[in-house]
Amino acid sequence: MPAASLAPLFNKVLIANRGEIALRVQRACRELGIQTVMVYSEGDSSAKYLRLADEVVCIGPAPISASYLNGAAIIAAAEITGAQAIHPGYGLLSENADFAEQVEKSGFTFIGPSADIIRLMGDKIAAKTTVKKYNLKTIPGVEGALPADVGEAATLIAKIGFPTVIKAAAGGGGRGMRVVHSEVQTRNILPVLRSEARAAFGDDTVYAERFLDNPRHIEVQVLADGKNAIHLGTRDCSLQRRHQKVLEEAPAFDVPQKKHDAICEACAAMCRKIGYQGAGTFEFLYADQEFYFIEMNTRVQVEHPVSEMITGVDIVAQQIRIAAGQPLAYRQKDILFRGHAIECRINAEDPKTFLPAPGRIDMYHPPGGIGVRVDSHIFSGYEVPPYYDSLIAKLVVHADTRAAALVRLRSVLREFVITGISTTLPLHEELAEDEVFISGKAGIAFLETRKQ
């Protein structure tokens, strides 16, 4: 690489997140020789990754609204520490276009795409309209928002056929949506959904699309520098519970290679055309060998390690390099795909009821050995705070084939010890033995409908 021509990296980056991703970003910075500023809430003051940071700033009390969602405090923390850039991690402010804009206006670099792109992709209807221009299919549906007139809307919906799902534009995560099976039902449900949406989100815009029965959730990881773009293949994230991913793998299994490569290339091509900058994920529903775009995430994702395992590319390090103005370090042909990776999200939750289980971890002993990666911020004696997301560790296994990765997963889960609190480790032990999951045919409804 012609190092002389590269833009210099940042001297200091502020990490505006918590938990495992805060440590993940910190590790990437450390390896890039960048100093780190970690912000934290009073609820996270015992987190050990703070001790590994160069500087730490308390930004507020435990509730996220007063701390990790407090953009002003985070920007003030960047000001007083002289950080040059802010890495938002995932969740929290990572896809908040206003925050990204404020960061840039305050003279810092937001590590992610521009506020405009975040805003565009944050609006589900606008995002779909956009991707269609770049040859990505969306689920057949009524173009744009549904008209206010119930009769007119129902007629339009009937044209695309049933079952159809009607969704609030401002909804998400399973909230503000209904599946309808007839025109009559549509007429009845539509006013109800609109008033619910108005009450819940202050916006009664709704749209409609064909409902796919138990499709798989497959996504494409991209990296782009504003000019060039590459893909890092696919991930299958069909194992979800209440729209929360539980287990992810890479690459997506049992997709014809041509279809697989075509969808990946189409995503990269779109990034090139819109001048996308940073890491991004195109999410699709996959049914009957067709990919239907559902949304784009303009940030690093929880499940990024599975793509790192099969490609050897450090996605977070690339995000930072790109934000500093460096060109992509890889061309598509440099990306060699090797083997299969599976990630289990270990949550501090009851494995049956999924109720959060914060508390003190008496013993934390992660497994080791060949083809095993664990990303976690916890340790023996750590008190899992009750205020935040319950993700406490990500167990990733990698092997030559999906079958071998499954075998490794089963073996390794036996060695993973977390005591003192309930975790979803037993759920993953069950899943690793589940025939439907093993077959690779599990769709997004699998986990909710599975017999226990």
Partner: protein
């Protein structure tokens, strides 16, 4: 169940800190239990809080460092004033002016004690009580985090 198996289970149980085991095999069923040693609360015993700083000692350069342990109780009777926001602490309204307060200054509730600048805004921090400034903890121009100790006031 043969005796060997039982012995093995017993040994396993013995060497564990479990207090109860129930074991069924076909028609067989074993339940083992152990009294918990009275009064021993091992909660804080093997607290491995310490190893980490040793492994990677870092000096946080920010006024409100990890685990602000200075709580009101430590200043029994006195009132501590903490920073309500992240920013830069200033003792006066401009460099050529005198500090708002100093050690010994009598203050009324609502009097400005200092300024915390955040995002180009000058935020005046009022005294929560009437009393006398006993201690000025933060230094002029210092960066302060949320909850950083600024003043101690004796009512």
């Amino acid at each position: 169940m043969d005796i060997r198996k039982l012995k093995t289970i017993l040994d396993l149980f013995e060497n564990s800190s479990l207090t109860e085991i129930e074991f069924c095999e076909g028609e067989e069923r074993i339940r083992l239990s152990k009294a918990q040693p009275a009064g021993t609360q091992p909660a804080a015993l093997p607290l491995p809080n310490n190893p980490f700083p040793t492994a990677a000692p870092t000096v946080a350069s920010i006024a409100a460092p990890i685990a602000v342990t200075t709580t009101e109780e430590e200043f029994a009777g006195d009132v501590v004033v903490k920073s309500p926001m992240v920013g830069t602490f200033y003792r006066s309204s401009s460099p050529d002016k005198n500090p708002f307060v100093d050690v010994g200054t009598p203050v009324k509730k609502g009097d400005t004690l200092c300024i915390v600048e955040a995002m180009k805004l000058m935020n005046e921090i009022p005294s929560p009580v009437s009393g006398v400034v006993r201690q000025v903890v933060a230094e002029n121009g210092e960066a302060v985090g949320f909850g950083a100790l600024l003043f101690v006031i004796t009512e």
